[in-house]
Amino acid sequence: MNPKIARHVYGWLLFSPAAIFFILFTHYPIVRSCVLSFFSNPRGSKPPRFVGLSNYDYLIHDPIFWQALKNNLIYAFGTIPITISLAIVMAVWVNRRMPGRAFVRAAYFTPTILPMIAIANIWLFFYTPGVGLFDSILNALGYPGRNWLGNPDTALLCLMVIAIWKDAGFFMIFYLAALQGIPQDVVEAGKIEGAGRWYFFRRVTFPLLMPTTVFVVFNALINTFRIVDHIFILTKGGPDNATQLLLYYLFQNAFEFWDTAYAATLTVVIMVILMTLALTQFKVLERRTHYQ
C-alpha cells in the first residue's frame, strides 16, 4: 500500500475504537435530545408526534423551571465569591512556612475528594431539627432550634454552605500553583520597596492571579449546573421547590414523572447554558492572552 494512504488508514484505525463511544454516548445523545424536544411523549401504542416548539412553550410558562433557574443563579452567585475568597486566603496561608502546614493543607483539601453523597449524609445530621448538631448547639446556648432543611427560607442556604466547604480547598490548589508561579524577584522587589503585605497583595499578587480567577469562576459556574448529588439526600428539591436545581429537575422529569419529551427539552437548555459558559470562558481567556 502507498505509505501516505497507509498513514491515513492507521490514523483512522487508531481513533476508531474511541470514535464509536464518542458518537454513541456524546454526539448521538446531543442530537437526539434536540430531536426529542420537538416531539410529544408516546402514549400507549401511539408513537411520538412532531409538536414543533410546544415543549419550549411549556417550558417558558413553567414556574418550576424558572424557580430552578433562579435557584441555580442564587446558588452560583451566593457561593462563588465566598469560595474564591476562601480559596485565595487558604492558598496564601499554606504557601508560607508555618508549623503544621501539612495538616492544614490536608484539612482544606480533604472535602474535595469525598463523594457528595457521603458529605450529604454527614451534613444531614448537622441540619436535623431538634437532635442535630446545629440545633443541639443552639439549644445548649439557650436558643430555639429550627427546621433548617424543611424551611424554604434556609434550605438553599444550607446546600450552599456545603458547596463552599467542599469546593474552597479544590480551588485553593489552583491558586497555590499560581502563587508558586509568581517570580521571586517580583516578591523581592516588593519587599525592598517596603510595600505592606496587604498593599502588595492588592496591587501585585491579586492581578497576577487573575487568569486563575477567570478559570476558577467559570469552572465553579459550570459545576453548579452539573452537581446535584446532595439534593437527593438532603431535600429532593423541596420544600416547595426551594432547592430545585435544573439538573435535578431534569432528573425528576425523566425518571420520576417519565416525561421524556420535557426532560429532553431541559437537556437542551442545560446544554445551551454549558456551551455558552464554556465559549465565553474561551473568549475571555483568549482576550487576556492578547494583552499580555
Binding site: R7, H8, Y10, G11, W12, L14, F15, P17, A18, A19, F21, F22, L24, F25, T26, H27, P29, I30, S33, L36, M90, W93, R96, M98, G100, V104, A106, A107, T110, P111, T112, I113, L114, P115, M116, I117, A118, I119, A120, I122, F125, F126, T128, I173, F174, A177, F215, V228, D229, F232, I233, L247, F251, A254, F255, A263, A264, I270, M275, A278
Partner: protein
C-alpha cells in the same frame, strides 16, 4: 520586626482555626461512628469506643457487594479509558488524516457537555442494548473521554519525533512505537489521569443511580444514598460508620499520597 512577627503568628493561628473548622465535619463523623449512638451529640471524652456501628452498617446493607461493584466499575472505566484514549491521542498527535482537526474539535464538545447531562438518551440507548442494570452500562458512557484524549495528546506531542523515527528505521510498527516510546515517556500523565479518573468514578452518583436498580450492580455511592436516606430510619452513628467505610479507601490513599493527588488534580484542572 516584632510587629511582623506578631502578624505572622496571628496568621498561623487563623490558618489553624480555619483548618480545624474545615476538618470538623469529618472528625465529627469519625467521633459518631466510633461511639455508641447516645454519644452522637454528647462529647464525653470518657465515652466508650466501639466498632458496633460498623458491624451494624456492614450487616444492614450489602456493603461488600457495593464495594465489589464500585471496584469493578472504577477499574473497568479507567482501564478502558487508558486504552481508548491512548490510541486516539496517538492518532491525533502523530498521524495526519483527512478531517482530523474537525473531528478533534467535535471531541472537545464533550468537555462542555458530559454524559452526565445526557442521561435521558443514554438511558434509552442502554435499554435498547439491553444493558440496564449491568456494570458495563455504568462504565461505557465514560470510556471515550475527551479530557483523556486531550491530556495524552498534549503529552505525546512533546515526545521528540527523532525517537519515533529511530524506532521506525529499526523496523518497529506503529503499535510497537506507541508502547515502547510514547507510553513509557508519559508515565506521570497516566498517573495523574488515573488518580483523577479513579476518584471521579469512585464518587460518581447520578448516572449510576439512574442505570442501576438492584444491589448486584449498585456502586457504593448509590448504596450509601439509600442507606443514609431518612426514610430508612437508620441512626446517625450507623450512617456515619457506613459513610466512613465507603470513603475509607480513597481517603486513606489520599492521605498517603497527598502530593500526587494534589498535583494530579492541578494538572487535570489546568489542562
Amino acid at each position: 520586626m516584632t510587629s511582623s512577627g506578631f502578624w505572622s503568628k496571628l496568621e498561623t493561628v487563623a490558618a489553624w482555626m480555619l483548618g480545624i473548622l474545615w476538618a470538623m465535619p469529618l472528625l465529627y463523623a469519625i467521633w459518631a461512628a466510633f461511639h455508641p449512638p447516645a454519644y452522637a451529640v454528647n462529647f464525653d471524652l470518657t465515652a466508650p469506643v466501639t466498632l458496633a456501628n460498623f458491624w451494624e452498617a456492614w450487616h444492614t446493607a450489602p456493603f461488600a457487594r457495593y464495594f465489589i461493584n464500585t471496584i469493578l466499575y472504577t477499574t473497568m472505566t479507567t482501564a478502558l479509558q487508558f486504552v481508548l484514549c491512548t490510541l486516539a491521542a496517538y492518532s491525533f498527535a502523530c498521524y495526519d488524516w483527512k478531517g482530523k482537526d474537525l473531528v478533534f474539535s467535535l471531541i472537545l464538545v464533550q468537555l462542555m457537555v458530559m454524559p452526565d447531562q445526557l442521561l435521558v438518551v443514554n438511558y434509552q440507548t442502554m435499554s435498547a442494548l439491553q444493558l440496564v442494570d449491568t456494570i458495563p452500562a455504568i462504565s461505557l458512557p465514560y470510556i471515550a473521554s475527551a479530557f483523556g484524549v486531550f491530556l495524552l495528546r498534549q503529552n505525546f506531542k512533546q515526545v521528540p519525533l527523532a525517537l519515533a523515527e529511530a524506532a521506525r528505521i529499526e523496523g518497529a510498527g506503529p503499535l510497537r512505537i506507541l508502547l515502547k516510546i510514547y507510553v513509557p515517556l508519559s508515565k506521570s500523565v497516566y498517573l495523574a489521569y488515573g488518580l483523577v479518573s479513579i476518584s471521579w468514578h469512585w464518587n460518581n452518583f447520578l448516572w449510576p443511580l439512574v442505570i442501576t436498580n438492584s444491589a448486584t450492580t449498585r456502586p457504593l455511592t448509590v448504596g450509601l444514598a439509600i442507606f443514609g436516606s431518612p426514610e430508612n430510619g437508620v441512626n446517625f452513628a450507623v450512617v456515619s460508620a457506613g459513610t466512613l467505610m465507603s470513603v475509607a479507601p480513597l481517603l486513606i490513599a489520599f492521605l498517603l499520597f497527598q502530593r500526587q493527588f494534589v498535583q494530579s488534580f492541578m494538572r487535570a484542572g489546568i489542562k
